[in-house]
């Protein structure tokens, strides 16, 4: 069951886009960045964030390294790879195609 403001398949796209602008974010920062930039409209399910991140890391689109935080803990900071940049362009193009198709239907029907 999907909620109306869920992200469905576009989580990948958003993560890649944000990392392209602001590299070196850890998971929590990514989550808040998405929520802020979309003005609270889009909310990331925490349960699906990390599997998605790990999946993208597996695919080679992002890479991670451990950084030390001032609180003494370590966190994993992600950044985009070259393959990720290509993937971002592809995903963005796909998104554009889909949304313009939907818009066209809404206008004409």
């Amino acid at each position: 069951m999907t909620k109306p403001d869920s992200l469905q398949g576009s989580l990948d796209l958003l993560v890649l886009k944000i990392l392209s602008r602001r590299p070196g974010l850890h998971g929590y920062a990514l989550m808040t960045a998405i929520q802020e930039t979309s003005r609270e409209v889009l909310r990331v399910e925490e349960g699906s964030l990390y599997p998605a991140l790990h999946r993208m890391e597996e695919a080679g689109w992002i890479r991670a390294e451990w950084i030390a935080k001032d609180s003494g803990r370590r966190a994993r900071a992600y950044e985009l790879t070259a393959a990720g940049k290509k993937q971002l362009l592809a995903e963005a193009a796909r998104w554009q195609a889909v949304t313009s198709a939907v818009n066209r239907v809404l206008r004409t029907v």
Binding site: H26, Y28, E46, Y50, P51, E58
Partner: protein, 884 residues
């Protein structure tokens, strides 16, 4: 993340989980720092376990990790059920061990090629005319004229037992006569010194004198690995040879199954043998092999050699042949056959037998697998509650199947390792059973990749064979139903599948027992037949007189026969002595062709007979009665050509009625008419060289020259103790004679080595099969009785007698037996057809053997069913009914 890191993460296990947890924890800490409620933050993640597992599965190779986990669990399960494991591993080890041993032997003897470069281009060349070996003149011509093959070489191991001593006791080495091109064409490079060049292969040796090449093992043994072996002198038959090279350690010669110590050029033969036979045109003794040019096909090589044949024929035809025989000389063309494995007498004799043994061993393994499958089926039934629990917790059927198959694999691998160890020992024993063809048999049984690959493949096949069906059965559970039962004891007894497996096992067992019966009968028939000679009483002394001063140029006698015979006959314990040109069962045959004598001689198809020259009293030495006429006397030896004694078969074939007084004549050349020979006696048939064929037509001439073995008859059987005395007596008279004495019984024994091996092994396997089948049957019947306890309890309480219950069980077993036998009999008959070439004295469809085999199977079945039947009969109905 790459494939590599995913692979590595499989074993990183805990570290991986710790990292994932750390990342998730730092997220939560961040959330808390930003003011979110701790509880809520954690809950937002959903089930942390699932989070962790989802991420972990992304980060590592899931199937590999699962497989390793299955293996770990399988090892633990195998250890837990130790009793079952030992039974299973034991049966599998036996089955796989024998298979690996026989495969290893077959591999070395039949499949492997010679350890030389490009062995696939080696071919064997025969001269045509149904000859397998060449004469030296023929070989010389081939070598001079052929240009089709890249190279040809010749070799022989006849008369190649070289005495390295200077006198007294012989120190024999395995020798090889080789042509100069031998090592070059084979592509064998010496590790020290050089191999032969063309100049070395000349009569009397080449510019360096007589030279020799020694093998690596001989270099170690005789020269103790000394580095100055090149140039050292080696006395061969008291002729000094110079060692010029040493071959690499893995080269054992051109014959699989034997090794060589010293190789010398063919041209040096006159020096070593003290007589020059090389130019003889009727002595066929050389093996010729060649190497194809790169990319050349065997057929084109044969076609290229065909035009040579007429030239070779004309240049080497023996003189004195009649016109018909001359036309037939080398009538059929030269043949070229691929021979990557060299030429092997051992292989030729044993190939069929080894194939049969391989099939038999395979059947034993199959029986063992069926046993194991049944055990696993029953075991699966008992584990139903465990499996049901796993299914209830969410395990998929595929996952469970993989787990159970992992267990089968572990069992199978354990069995294979144990079997491999067993096969090393068994292989050694097998090779020891092979007869010595040229010295002690040498077969390289070291475990190489093909043997390991074979074992591994068999292990996996076996695991799949016995593991698949039980695994499928075990995972087909209805969790509720099974959990409800608690012990899960309401089984229906062995399923139709279990019964079918047992019946199949019984039929295989029948086939093996029939095979065992046939081979054992073959062996007893061969050894038990009347061979016409007293084999237990005779000692045969081979005489080598090349160093004796009596060995004159025209060889009137190589030893002083009369004095020796007198001396030997005078020994206590000796009943008689004689000499002849050939001894029975010595693999030496001398044949000739008779032509009709006298008016109206009827045409006879096969006029070839075997010939032997014997001294007087030779017949009584061997215990051969002269049933008509008389034995030879000393006077016959003075005019040796005029009289002859024939055996019964010859007399029957050529004459009706009494042949004494009639004549026969050997075929001679056009200018060389042989004299008529008058028959003075008829001897009883006796074996000559072959035990399988009946006694051949044989003619005996009085011996004029003494150049064959001396035969000694003892007064009692097993005369081994007399050997020393006989040798001493002969050496007293002529100390230069080289003597080798052995019992006639040993020759007979060696002749049946193959049949003995088949009989022993088939009997062993048959017994093993009976044991396995019996154990399997016992297991299945016990299980059935256990499962039907309730039913039997009810029957007994309703008034069934004990015998009635026993009868119930036994009837079940009998039904299985009948099915097994019904399937097994046609398979046995088919199989027997295939091995009929190896049988003797018993037909492939012999009903007596079949009947005995069925009886054996029936008694085993009865014995196996007896104990469970008794247990069934003593079931207490009240306890049985109460248990459920």
């Amino acid at each position: 993340m790459s494939l590599w890191s995913r692979l590595v993460n499989v074993i990183r296990g805990d570290r991986l989980i710790a990292e994932i947890d750390e990342e998730l924890e730092s997220h939560i800490a961040e959330a808390i720092a930003h003011g979110r409620d701790a509880e809520e933050a954690r809950r937002a993640f959903g089930g942390s376990l699932r989070q962790r597992e989802a991420s972990r599965d992304i980060k590592r190779m899931a199937w590999l990790a699962d497989f390793l986990m299955d293996l770990r669990r399988a090892v633990r399960a195998v250890w837990r059920h130790r009793a079952l494991t030992s039974a299973v591993v034991g049966s599998l080890a036996l089955g796989m061990g024998v298979n690996t041993a026989i495969f290893s032997l077959s591999n070395s003897l039949i499949l492997k090629s010679l350890p030389v470069k490009h062995s696939d281009r080696l071919v064997r060349v025969t001269p045509g005319g149904d000859f397998e070996a060449w004469t030296y003149p023929l070989w010389e011509q081939l070598q001079a004229h052929q240009a089709v093959l890249e190279g040809v070489f010749a070799w022989s191991s006849q008369n190649a037992s070289f005495d390295l001593s200077t006198g007294g006791e012989a120190d024999l080495a395995n020798g090889l006569w080789v042509s100069a091109s031998f090592f070059d064409v084979l592509g064998v490079r010496p590790i020290l010194g050089r191999t032969f060049v063309a100049a070395d292969d000349r009569r009397g040796g080449g510019p360096d004198g007589p030279v020799a090449v020694v093998s690596h093992s001989f270099w170690q043994r005789h020269f103790h690995g000394a580095v100055d072996v090149v140039g050292a002198t080696l006395l061969i038959e008291r002729v000094p040879f110079t060692v010029v090279g040493v071959t690499p350690p893995d080269f054992f010669g051109p014959q699989v199954g034997s090794t060589f110590d010293v190789a010398i050029p063919i041209g040096t033969q006159p020096l070593v043998l003290r007589r020059d036979r090389l130019d003889q045109r009727t002595w066929w003794w050389l093996q010729v092999m060649g190497r194809l040019k790169s990319g050349q096909a065997v057929e084109s090589a044969a076609a290229g050699l065909a035009p040579l044949q007429p030239i070779l024929r004309d240049l080497t035809r023996p003189s004195g042949l009649s016109a018909a025989d001359a036309a037939n000389y080398l009538g059929s063309p030269m043949t070229v056959t691929p021979a990557p494995g060299g030429v092997s007498e051992l292989r030729r004799r044993y190939q069929r037998a080894l194939t049969v043994l391989m099939a038999v061993a395979g059947l034993v393994l199959l029986i063992a697998c069926v046993n194991v499958a049944n055990l696993m089926l029953a075991h699966g039934e008992r584990r139903r509650p465990d499996v049901s629990l796993q299914v209830a917790l969410g395990a998929s059927r595929g996952r469970l199947l993989r787990q159970l198959l992992a267990e089968s694999l572990v069992l199978s691998v354990l069995g294979a390792v144990a079997g491999l160890l067993m096969s090393v020992w068994a292989g050694g024993w097998l090779v020891a059973q092979l007869p010595a063809v040229n010295g002690a048999p040498y077969v390289d049984l070291s475990i190489d990749w093909s043997v390991l690959g074979f074992t591994g493949g068999v292990a996996i096949a076996v695991a799949l064979l016995f593991g698949t069906v039980p695994a499928f059965r075990a995972t087909r559970v209805d969790p509720i139903q099974a959990l409800k039962q608690g012990r899960g004891s309401a089984g229906h007894g062995p399923s139709a599948l279990g019964n079918a497996l047992v019946a199949f096992q019984l039929s295989l067992c029948l086939v093996l027992v029939v095979a065992a019966g046939l081979f054992v009968r073959t062996f007893t028939a061969l050894t038990g037949q009347d061979t016409g000679v007293d084999r237990e009483r005779v000692i045969v002394v081979d005489v080598d007189a090349r160093h004796s001063p009596n060995a004159s140029a025209n060889r009137k006698a190589l030893y002083d026969r009369d004095r020796i015979l007198v001396a030997v006959r005078a020994l206590p314990g000796v009943a008689d002595a004689a000499y002849s040109s050939n001894a029975p069962m010595s693999n030496n045959a001398w044949n000739t062709v008779l032509e009709p004598v006298g008016p109206a001689a009827s045409p006879i198809q096969d006029r070839s007979v075997l010939k032997n020259e014997v001294s007087p009293q030779w017949f009584s030495t061997y215990g051969i009665p002269v049933i008509a006429g008389r034995d030879f006397s000393v006077f016959d030896q003075r005019s040796p050509q005029a009289v002859v004694i024939v055996n019964e078969t010859l007399a029957r074939r050529y004459f009706d009625g009494d042949p004494v007084g009639r004549s026969i004549r050997e075929v001679g050349g056009p200018d060389d008419r042989q004299p008529d020979l008058t028959i003075v006696g008829v001897a009883r048939d006796a074996v000559y060289t072959s035990l399988r064929e009946g006694p051949p037509a044989t003619m005996y001439l009085p011996s004029a020259h003494a150049f064959g073995p001396i035969s000694v008859r003892a007064e009692s059987e097993s005369p081994a103790y007399l050997i020393q005395a006989v040798i001493a007596a002969i050496t007293d008279i002529d100390g230069d004679l080289k003597l080798r004495a052995h019992l006639l019984a040993d020759d007979f024994s060696a002749a049946v080595a193959r049949e003995r091996m088949l009989a022993v092994l088939a009997a062993l396997f048959g017994g093993l099969a009976l044991l396995l089948a019996g154990v399997g049957l016992y297991g299945v019947v016990s299980y059935g009785v256990g499962a039907r306890r309730t039913e039997i309890g009810i029957r007994i309480s309703l008034g069934a007698s004990r015998t009635g219950v026993v009868g119930l069980i036994v009837r079940r077993v009998a039904a299985l037996m009948c099915v097994g036998v019904a399937v097994g009999v046609p398979i046995s008959l088919l199989g027997a057809q295939y091995v009929s070439g190896l049988l003797f004295g018993v037909s492939a469809h012999d009903p007596a053997t079949l009947a005995v085999a069925m009886l054996a199977l029936a008694s085993v079945g009865l014995a196996a069913a007896w104990i469970p039947a008794q247990r069934a009969a003593s079931i207490n109905p009240t306890t049985a009914l109460r248990a459920d």
